[in-house]
């Protein structure tokens, strides 16, 4: 019949390892959650402060702090082995690498592209789209 008997080494493992992982005090969890909420409010708040070119960097900075909080406390990286931090940071670097190369490329060929709205998007805009994210209407481009 089906394989149900646990192999000897997994049985041995079950005894020498605690059944529950590391426990984080509720106080820390709640303060982390509070910090995340506060940062969310700040994210919305800075939307009203225009620092020009740095807008995006401010937003990304706040997001990085939030992600770091989640990884450190909610994902227990603070109490895990340092190797896990290394893996986490390493994987993040791969994401950065991918995005950076893609952005570098698109920024290089951007000026070879046509300006204005693409035809299908324009169709939608011309028809009816008062609150559409793309606010530049054909009339504006032609002017």
């Amino acid at each position: 019949m089906s394989h149900t008997d646990p192999s000897p080494h997994s049985a041995a493992h079950a005894t020498d390892q605690p059944l529950v992982g590391h426990l984080v005090p509720v106080r820390i969890l709640i303060s982390t959650a509070a910090a995340l909420l506060a940062l969310t409010i700040i994210t919305v708040a800075v939307r009203y402060i225009d620092v020009g070119e740095f807008n995006v960097w401010v937003a990304i900075g706040i997001a990085v702090v939030k992600a770091a909080l989640v990884a450190t406390f909610f994902m227990h990286l603070k109490w895990d082995r340092p190797f896990n931090v290394l893996v986490f940071v390493g994987c993040t670097l791969f994401v950065v690498l991918m995005i950076a190369f893609c952005v570098l490329d698109t920024s290089q060929y951007r000026d070879t592209q046509f300006t204005g709205n693409p035809p299908m998007a324009q169709e939608t805009l011309d028809a009816n789209a008062p609150g559409a994210p793309i606010t530049q209407k054909k009339a504006d481009i032609n002017r």
């Binding site: 019949m1 089906s2 394989h3 080494h9 991918m98 490329d105 693409p118 299908m120 793309i134």
Partner: protein
């Protein structure tokens, strides 16, 4: 000689009582719900070989269509579906899972000296995800098929009217998770389940290769999943990520797709290189040359593989700056690949080569991989690639790497570990004959395509100029010969299952741990914890007439300190 008698006695006992992983429990559910890595590996192998048959049928159909210009057997739209299906099946259902999930699952824990992988249930889940992905792929055929090519390039894939595009994208999405599960399992297994004495640099090179592969699987496959999700969303909701008429960027799609799919090429070839390291060392009975170089070159290839994806996009509209960067880095991949090749050749040099079927596949690999690898340099060179891009030259190049190298290594590995998996020997002559026929057919099929491509025949075309016809005919005949070779091999292996001679524990004279357990292995792999020695030191491996196989005479081993009992503790 007491040291020699003890292990030999164990091996004879386990073979005689017949309790092995195949007979340990019976019935359909004992397989369908098994957590045994060996059974999961065997199920994967059967599933992958069935898909290989299907993909092969499509290959023969499309080669037949190309016998004459214009219509030969099917119309153009059907032909588009044929090459798409051939590509998608061979890449996602066959080659990617073939070595890690099928052979790797079977061999990795035994080679490591462990009883199973770290997460047996995840392992089984991975197999069922594969089944799910395969069902979706087949379902897509029922609802209109897909003709996008296996790369699903936008904007064609977002606008084609073929009805099966979304199901197959779902299928590939699911297959990706199957691949991630396998990779994750292997990483944790190699980190956590190494028995005492099995240090990183005592691991067989196949394990280094599987480890590097697993890194790629875990790091790259999620990107494919996200990309395909975006493509589904684009196709259903028209949100304008990749579709230019909605303001999207099709080149961005290629960036995302190739960020996975170039590393995917190394998911295919790196484990194949691992198999070749094993085959070449074991069958030439000589210590592998440059162990650490081969080990680290696997990791180096895995790392490099993430920063070269743009070489698939030289003519896509990618910017000149990125073209130059990607071209430069792509050349650097040649270095670790060449390091491996030279080390294998050095291992053969002055070795005592047994020309067994696995060794024939190993030698075929060396030959074909050299051609496949070197023609890669033509494709990585910016100026020549503008001419060669999307021609049969590229088709020939990647078939030399993906089929001539990865699949040949897989079939070689299948022969190499066949006695271990099934407990039966195959007929050596038939096996070698199969290998030679495949080798001849392969070169006929694909070498001609280098000529076709350099003369300007574009890939994926239904029709062509009459002057190309001679090459196409030779190529198609080669494909038929290759098919005959695979049939020969299949007959050889089937015959072995029915009436093959019982395999000894160590038929080839291998030294790594999988040869120190019975053929087929017990349910829990080892009766006693095996002793870890230098897995490429073949001096203590001696022929034993009684077993018709090799045994490891520990008295001759200079690496194991004598008078000390083998370690028996738990895992670190």
């Amino acid at each position: 000689m007491t040291t020699l008698d003890a292990p030999r006695h164990d091996i004879l006992d386990t073979t005689a009582t017949g309790d092995n992983y195949l007979t340990h429990s019976r019935g359909f559910l004992s397989w369908a719900l098994t957590l045994d890595h060996k059974r999961i590996g065997v199920m994967y192998m059967v599933a992958v070989l069935c898909s290989f048959f299907l993909g092969g049928v499509f290959a023969l159909l499309l080669r037949t269509e190309l016998l004459t210009p214009g219509r030969t057997i099917v119309d153009a739209d059907t032909y588009n579906q044929f090459f798409t299906l051939h590509g998608a099946i061979m890449v996602f259902l066959v080659i990617i899972p073939s070595i890690p999930a099928a052979l790797g699952n079977f061999v990795l824990p035994i080679m490591l000296g462990a009883k199973d992988v770290a997460f047996p249930r995840l392992n089984l889940a991975s197999f069922y995800l594969w089944i799910g992905g395969a069902i979706f792929t087949l379902y897509s055929l029922a609802v209109g098929g897909f003709d996008t090519g296996w790369t699903f390039d936008t904007p064609y894939s977002t606008t084609t009217t073929a009805g099966g595009v979304i199901p197959v994208l779902m299928g590939v999405f699911i297959l990706g998770f199957s691949s991630i599960f396998t990779g994750l399992n292997f990483i944790v297994t190699i980190h956590k389940l190494r028995p005492p004495g099995m240090t990183w640099f005592k691991m067989p090179l196949f394990l280094w290769a599987l480890y590097s592969t697993a890194l790629i699987q875990v790091l790259a496959t999620p990107v494919l999943a996200i990309t395909l999700c975006l493509l589904i969303v684009e196709r259903t909701l028209n949100i304008g990520i990749f579709n230019p008429s909605m303001g999207g960027d099709p080149v961005l799609y290629q960036h995302f797709f190739w960020f996975y799919s170039h590393p995917a090429v190394y998911i295919m070839i790196v484990p194949a290189m691992g198999i070749i390291s094993e085959i070449i060392a074991v069958h030439s009975h000589r210590h592998i040359f440059g162990y650490t170089y081969i080990a680290f070159s696997s990791v180096a290839i895995a790392m490099f593989s993430f920063i070269v994806w743009g070489h698939h996009m030289f003519t896509s509209g990618q910017s000149g700056v990125m073209n130059t960067i990607f071209s430069l880095i792509s050349f650097s991949v040649g270095i670790p690949s060449a390091v491996k090749t030279f080390n294998w050749v050095m291992t053969l040099y002055k070795g005592t080569i047994s020309l067994t079927a696995p060794m024939c596949y190993g030698l075929a690999f060396l030959f074909l991989f050299t051609i496949g690898g070197l023609t890669g340099l033509h494709c990585a060179t910016l100026a020549t690639d503008v001419h060669l891009h999307d021609t049969y030259f590229v088709v020939a190049h990647f078939h030399y790497v993906m089929m001539g190298s990865a699949l040949i290594a897989m079939i070689g590995g299948l022969h190499h570990w066949w006695p271990k998996m099934t407990g039966r020997m195959y007929h050596e002559g038939t096996g070698i004959a199969g290998c030679i026929i495949i080798f001849v057919g392969f070169n006929m099929t694909f070498f001609t395509q280098f000529m076709l491509g350099s003369q300007g025949m574009p890939r994926r075309y239904y029709d062509y100029q009459p002057e190309f016809q001679t090459y196409h005919i030779v190529s198609t005949i080669g494909a038929y010969i290759m098919a005959a070779g695979f049939v020969t091999t299949a007959v050889c292996l089937m015959q072995s299952l029915m009436s093959g001679r019982r395999a000894p524990a160590n038929p080839w004279g291998g030294r790594s741990l999988e040869w120190q357990c019975a053929s087929p292995p017990r349910h829990d792999n080892f009766e006693h914890p095996p002793t870890v020695g230098d897995c490429y030191d073949f001096t203590p491996v001696v022929w034993d007439e009684r077993q018709q196989g090799y045994v490891v005479d520990r008295a001759l081993d200079t690496h194991i300190p004598h008078g000390k009992s083998p370690n028996t503790g738990g895992h670190q």
